[in-house]
Amino acid sequence: MKPAAFEYCRPDSLAEALALLSEYGDEAAVLAGGLSLGPLLNMRMARPEVVIDINRLADLARIERDGEVLRLGALVRQADVLASAECQDLVPLLVAALGHVGHYQTRDRGTLAGSAAHADPSAEVPLCLKTLAGAVELTSERQVRRVPADDFFQGTLTTARADDEMITALLWPTDRGRQGFAFEEVSERRGDFAIVAAAAWAERHDYDEGYRYGLGLGGVEEWSLVSRGGGRRAPEDLAEFADEVIAGVTEDIEPMRDQRASAAYRRHLADHLGRKVLLRALETALGEVQS
């Protein structure tokens, strides 16, 4: 469990990092917290020629509000978000989910961008980003582009990131979930990747009677299953509505199976947890309208 030999670079500027990325492309690996990359290197499942350590790029550690979007730089650690009152206020769903990511020790180093780049199908950060319809900011020497989370995550450990691109920030909409949100997951132990995780938010329009919601399920298939929608008027019967949404999301799924959990168990959890979180989000956001 020793990595194969690699070059180690620790650029002091983003430009330098991007130049290295464009030079080495798929022979390079970006090192952020190292919690996922470290084991991959040690087990020689990743054998990059060059490891580009971005931990000196202090600009990337910023938490910034940009209009309706909260911009979390690529070096923002999971613990930073948990400790931030601003994040708690603007993206409460994400904060609720991060409590389930690993442990104090891992959250202290692990970045949100690293989690997005790694794209584990059971990871909480990609699930929330997709559920909230956030986006990923990708920067290369060629361009800066914003890719919606729906397009960014393409499957297990597969994303839309090009070889010369770096994630410079995750962009979180702040108008989703502040009225109603819920997150639940089932994992064997505290801090494990979820067997199934469920995230939901709901929001009343402030300009009319309408509403919007989002539901995401992680750990079920290779990518998060998401349903987002809304309408002119809040549904009469929230429970019935939640059932319909769940039925739509889980209709043709073929859940993963592994040593720990069967497809049947995952299917059941998707249904059970999905209904639970969606209903809670809807009730908090829309409950008043009903009564």
Partner: protein, 804 residues
């Protein structure tokens, strides 16, 4: 001894080990660099569970930068004899694959290089030509006639089979009012110490000898076996254990084949070699407890008295029978009646080889598997007979006034009062309230269960119990075997300070602290004034076959050797001081660093002066007294006799007792267990140090909880190993453990001067079954298996759920 109000023994003396551990000054095997020129080893391991090796091409690897050499099984075979075991089936076990690999992870070639990185690079460059063979991992499947055979010379996979009967089990079952029967699989599990295996081996040509530094923790009965494998005399193999070990829980016993491998390779390559196992190697190829396919039948009369037991044990030993196996299935044999009065017992033991890693010592050693059957059967019988599970146990306990008690299979139970322990347990857990809560929860349709379990904890093993694997006639031919010798040395140097040497190779259990307490009492010193050297060295210290760290032997036996040796030093100090003080030796007491006249404490002399007299002025000593203050005690508990012709054996010196209770709720929708309450009561005899005892109980509980809930070294049907990291093999973290309510009481053991019993294994033995009992109770089920993973419990709680 130990009863004096002012004695150190019995007190919560803070652990002397902790300062070094907490300040990073403890030295472990990986910190040692005992000689220059050490090269680093990587092992190329088989990716196949079962394959013939047609050829190995290591030319490219040998030519790589920094590589010292590559050694294969074919080359090593010239220099090694197979490693022996108590099983007589013809099959050779070498520490490296010779012409066939039999489990995924088995060493195939050894690479030595300037560092581990280069060694791993080179290992990748070795080309092995494998002819894959069908594999078998399931113990029952391995018995089938068409199953792939691991060792052709053994003629099949069944490599050991013995049947035993004590009393008249046939009659007991024929007359029984109720017979409960259970069959189950017990999963393969490992204790996963923080520190993995590590060793440095050094061969010297003249005089010809091997020195091996490692974190091997015994039993040192394996030392002569290693010497035989290397074809040398015992005095040519010096084993040195590092002073600190990052945990063993028995599993470091399985290091010994690697020591032989490294020693032989050091000879072939002409340089000292160091190997530190990584986590993947540890999980896949160190050692583990056995998975088993066991059955039990228990006969009861109408009042719930247990009248007969039948055990059918099928042990999956993995690819080889590695000594001291088959000991794991014989550890509990002599105490197969558990804590109960039953006299009629039949036991069938079968060992089967499969394409899994070989088994070995692992916390609880056979105990968790044994109690899973017995204590599930007790709960099941309680349900069938409509007797409270606490009451059915109470009715069957050995009588408190019946000790020492000789069990039907030969165990000699030293002391106990099991009923008292159970009453304490029910009280601290508030059993009546829990039962009321269960009733209320059930009335609401919730799944609430209470589990109970009780058992004895045999400690200080008889080295001969494993010879039950042989028939009385075979034993007769092989010559007598018995005992469990402990060694301890106490020395007082010319300045009057004390050093103690132990043969117990502790792995974090605080032996140094307790040894210092004992010696401090004997010599009138303070524990922190005593240096305890726990680094064992077979080349310079006293040791014997039983030396090592296993079977809770420290508090059962080793403490007696320490006391004996310290007592002799004290006696000599008193005799010398008596001369100096001009009183009778009987009038001298050792206290507060002085030898003084009893009753006249101001009249005395510093111990340093007394000690100095024995070193500086031997001519002035009383006639016939030897100079110096150095003593070694070798002690064998008399109770540990050889097995008799009826296969009865006193397998252990002391028998602690424990009982556990858990109340939990099963969440029907997720299969999650919510532990409401977990209580555990122990009798470990006289407590030598409550801090150490509580630490052991909590640690054992954590191991047992992990075993119950999460842990399994999993293989797929084809023999591929699935648990190669801590993301796959799930150990509980502190966040997963429920609060443990722990209490203890004492029945003094007559087996050593302190009345203490061995302890440490107990909780790891009972926690798995008590949780299974509670889940069975909550779900109203007979059959529950481990681990109680979410998916499994969800299925059990929702039986209408279909398929995969």
């Amino acid at each position: 001894m130990g009863d004096r109000a002012d004695s150190w023994v019995g007190r919560a003396v803070p652990r002397l080990e902790d300062a070094a551990l907490l300040t990073g000054n403890a030295r472990f095997i990986d910190d040692l660099s005992p000689l220059p020129g050490i090269r680093h080893v990587a092992l190329l391991r088989s990716p196949h569970p079962h394959a013939r090796i047609l050829g190995i091409d290591a030319e490219a690897a040998r030519a790589m930068p920094g590589v010292v050499g590559v050694v294969t099984g074919a080359e090593l075979r010239e220099h090694l004899n197979p490693l022996a075991s108590a099983v007589r089936a013809p099959m050779a076990y070498y520490p490296i694959a010779i012409d066939k690999v039999r489990y995924a992870g088995e060493p195939v070639a050894l690479v030595a290089a300037e560092d581990r990185y280069l060694a791993e690079d080179a290992a990748e460059a070795i080309e092995v030509d494998y002819q894959p063979l069908d594999a078998v991992v399931d113990p029952l499947a391995a018995l089938a006639t068409e199953a792939p055979v691991l060792h052709e010379e053994a003629g099949g996979n069944l490599v050991h089979h013995r049947q035993f009967a004590y009393g008249d089990p046939e009659a007991a079952f024929a007359e029984a009012a109720e017979v409960v029967r259970l069959a189950w699989r017990y999963p393969r599990q490992s204790a996963t110490p923080m520190e993995t295996y590590g060793a440095i081996a050094h061969f010297e040509a003249a005089p010809e000898r091997y020195t091996v530094w490692s974190n091997f923790q015994g039993p040192f009965i394996l030392q002569p076996l290693m010497a035989r494998a290397l074809g040398i005399g015992g005095n040519q193999l010096r084993l040195i254990a590092a002073a600190h070990s990052g945990g063993s829980f028995g599993i470091k016993q399985g290091l010994y084949p690697y020591l032989v491998l490294l020693a032989a390779a050091s000879r072939l390559l002409g340089c000292p070699l160091k190997w530190v196992e990584d986590r993947l190697e540890h999980l896949s190829a160190s050692s583990s407890a056995a998975d088993r396919a066991d059955e039990i039948e228990a006969a009861f009369d109408g009042e719930g008295h247990l009248t007969g037991l039948r055990f059918d044990n099928l042990v999956n030993v993995g690819a080889y029978v590695r000594a001291p196996e088959p000991a794991s299935v014989y550890r509990m044999h002599a105490a197969a009646n558990g804590c109960y009065r039953v006299r009629h017992i039949a036991i069938q033991n079968r060992l089967v080889t499969t394409n899994k890693l070989p088994i070995g010592l692992n916390r609880g050693y056979g105990g968790p598997q044994f109690y899973f059957g017995l204590e599930r059967a007790m709960d099941l019988a309680a349900r069938r007979l409509a007797i409270d599970p606490a009451e059915i146990r109470r009715r069957n306990f050995l009588a408190a006034d019946g000790f020492p008690y000789e069990g039907p299979a030969g165990a000699i139970y030293d002391s106990g009062d099991y009923g008292k322990g159970l009453e304490m347990l029910l009280e601290i857990a508030d059993y009546p309230t829990l039962r009321a809560r269960r009733d209320a929860a059930r009335a609401e349709g919730r799944l609430f269960g209470i589990g109970l379990a009780a058992g004895v904890e045999p400690s200080g093993s008889n080295m001969a119990y494993v010879t039950l694997a042989q028939t009385p006639e075979e034993r007769e031919k092989a010559g007598g075997r018995s005992g469990g010798v402990a060694c301890a040395s106490v020395a007082m140097d010319p300045s009057g300070t004390v050093t103690v040497h132990l043969d117990s190779t502790p792995a974090g259990q605080g032996h140094a602290t307790v040894a210092a307490q004992i010696v401090a009492d004997a010599l009138g010193l303070r524990p922190e004034q005593i240096q305890v050297d726990t680094a064992m060295d077979t080349g310079s210290g006293a040791w014997s076959l039983a030396s090592g760290n296993y079977s809770n032997r420290f508090a059962a036996i080793v403490v007696g050797a320490i006391a004996e040796s310290a007592g002799r030093i004290a006696g000599k100090l008193k005799a010398v001081a008596a001369e100096l003080l001009e009183v009778a030796a009987d009038d001298v007491e050792l206290a507060e660093g002085r030898a003084r006249i009893a009753g006249v404490p101001e009249q005395g002399i510093a111990l340093g002066r007394v000690a100095a007299a024995t070193h500086w002025h031997p001519a002035g000593l009383p006639d016939g007294m030897a100079p110096g203050l150095y003593d070694t005690a070798l002690l064998n508990p008399a109770v540990l006799d050889a097995p008799d012709g009826a296969d009865r054996v006193a397998s252990a010196v002391t028998f602690g007792f424990l009982c556990d209770l858990v109340a939990l709720e099963v969440e029907r929708a997720t299969g999650r267990l919510r532990i409401e309450r977990y209580a555990s009561v122990h009798d470990v005899g006289r407590v030598l140090n409550p801090i150490v005892v509580e630490g052991q109980v909590r640690g054992g509980f954590a191991h047992g909880f992990g075993a119950a809930m999460f842990e399994e070294l999993a293989y797929d049907q084809d023999g591929n190993f699935l648990s190669g990291s801590f993301a796959d093999y799930l150990c509980p973290t502190s966040a997963d453990l429920p609060p443990l309510e722990f209490a203890n009481y004492e029945t003094a053991s007559p087996q050593n001067p302190f009345g203490s019993k061995g302890m440490g294994d107990g909780s790891s033995m009972l926690t798995p079954v008590v949780l299974a009992n509670a889940v069975a109770d909550a779900l109203d089920l007979d059959e529950v298996e481990l681990p109680l993973s979410l998916d499994r419990v969800w299925r059990l709680a929702n039986p209408e759920t279909d398929g995969r």
